[in-house]
Amino acid sequence: MLDRTFRKNLLLWTSAVCAASAAFADTGPLTEVPGDPARGLAILRDGSLPSCLICHQISSLPDRDQGQLGPTLDGVAGRFTADELRLRIIDARKISPETIMPAYYATDGLFRVGRNWAGKTIYDPQQVEDVTAYLMTLAD
């Protein structure tokens, strides 16, 4: 695994390189209000929002029927920086174009979005911050 600062620098460097195409938008916070981990957890458990737990597991949570399609999120705070996690949530396609992970804060490149959802993102900016803050509590 790459050293964390190195990964972060790499990401910053890549975003500098790609700035013109805006492929990597600024991965800093989307809002002024710092993310709230408790609200982040509530968002993860909100049945009306497509939950990360459809595909991932977090073993510290008692929730039944967690998903198996993606890797466990246990210890993600030790593997990624907040900026990296935020970028993953915003649009995981920027990290791996073929990923099945939905883009929670992007509307481009989608096909036949339901009329209730057209032009809307899954999360609003504050929800992105809250979920990022919650993930940052998942140290080993």
Partner: protein, 257 residues
């Protein structure tokens, strides 16, 4: 000298075989993903809630659709012999109209066209009941939709729709039912997405539903705009899925979680 040729032949036939179905072996029915309790509900005709549809279908079979007019039975005297194996080969190119038609579509045209009664709606109890009754006459028979030059474009179109990512969640049918079947998606174990048990009773719906209701449900759960009932897209999807699941026994009327 032989070996590379064998490998090449194996590779080519593998590539040809891969187009029709899940790449890893013969198709597996969604029945296999159910708990023993749910399987038993389907297996026991007295417990199976979807048998209600078959019973209702028997009543409709002998009913007059216009006053003093014909019943289905007037022309198709013995349902068991006349309709055996019929559902297993739908959708098909209709020998009379030359058009691709699903079993529901055929029943609608019998009622509206041949009998001159109002066409039943998709998902109406009448249409589900007659579909279940006719499907029941094929129970245990392998799905067996003909691949012909006429049906080829429908199969290809269905496959393309199945593999196209869509909706706010940006997933294709194949992402779930091909690449991740057997894995847990919340309370469900993902199946391969076959259509051999429809119409079914779904416990999570507390209701009956057709193949196309299932497609609609899956599309809505990825926040995608579903196609219309009876649309060319859904007809193509049914045709492709029938071929993709060729050989699976018809389970109608099925029970699912």
């Amino acid at each position: 000298m032989m070996k590379p040729l064998l490998i090449l032949v194996g590779f080519l036939s593998g590539a040809v075989a891969a187009w029709a179905g899940p790449p890893d072996g013969p198709p597996v029915s969604g029945y296999q993903m159910m708990t023993p309790e749910t399987q038993q509900l389907q297996d026991d005709d007295f417990l199976n809630p979807a048998m209600f549809l078959v019973d209702r279908g028997i009543t409709l079979w002998g009913r007059e659709w216009t006053q003093g007019g014909a019943t289905c039975q007037s022309c198709h005297s013995d349902i068991a012999s006349d309709m055996a194996g019929v559902a297993a080969r739908y959708p098909r190119i209709d020998p009379v109209s030359g058009q691709m038609v699903s079993l529901e579509g055929k029943i609608i045209s019998e009622i509206a066209g041949r009998l001159g009664a109002p066409a039943p709606d998709y998902e109406s109890e009448d249409l589900l009941a007659l579909t279940a009754l006719i499907g029941f006459q094929s129970r245990g028979m392998p799905m067996n939709v003909a691949v012909t030059p006429d049906s080829g474009p429908w199969i290809a179109k269905g496959k393309e729709i199945f593999e196209t990512r869509r909706g706010q969640l940006n997933l294709s049918c194949a992402n779930c039912h091909q690449d991740h079947w057997g894995e847990k998606l919340r309370g469900d174990t993902l199946s391969q997405g076959h259509i051999n048990a429809f119409p079914v009773y779904r416990l999570t719906w507390s209701d009956f539903g057709s193949r196309q209701r299932m497609f609609t449900w899956c599309m809505e759960s990825i926040r995608s705009e579903p196609y219309a009932y009876g649309s060319e897209e859904f007809l193509a999807m049914e045709t492709y899925l029938a071929v993709r699941g060729a050989g699976l026994p018809i389970e109608t009327p099925g029970v699912r979680r």
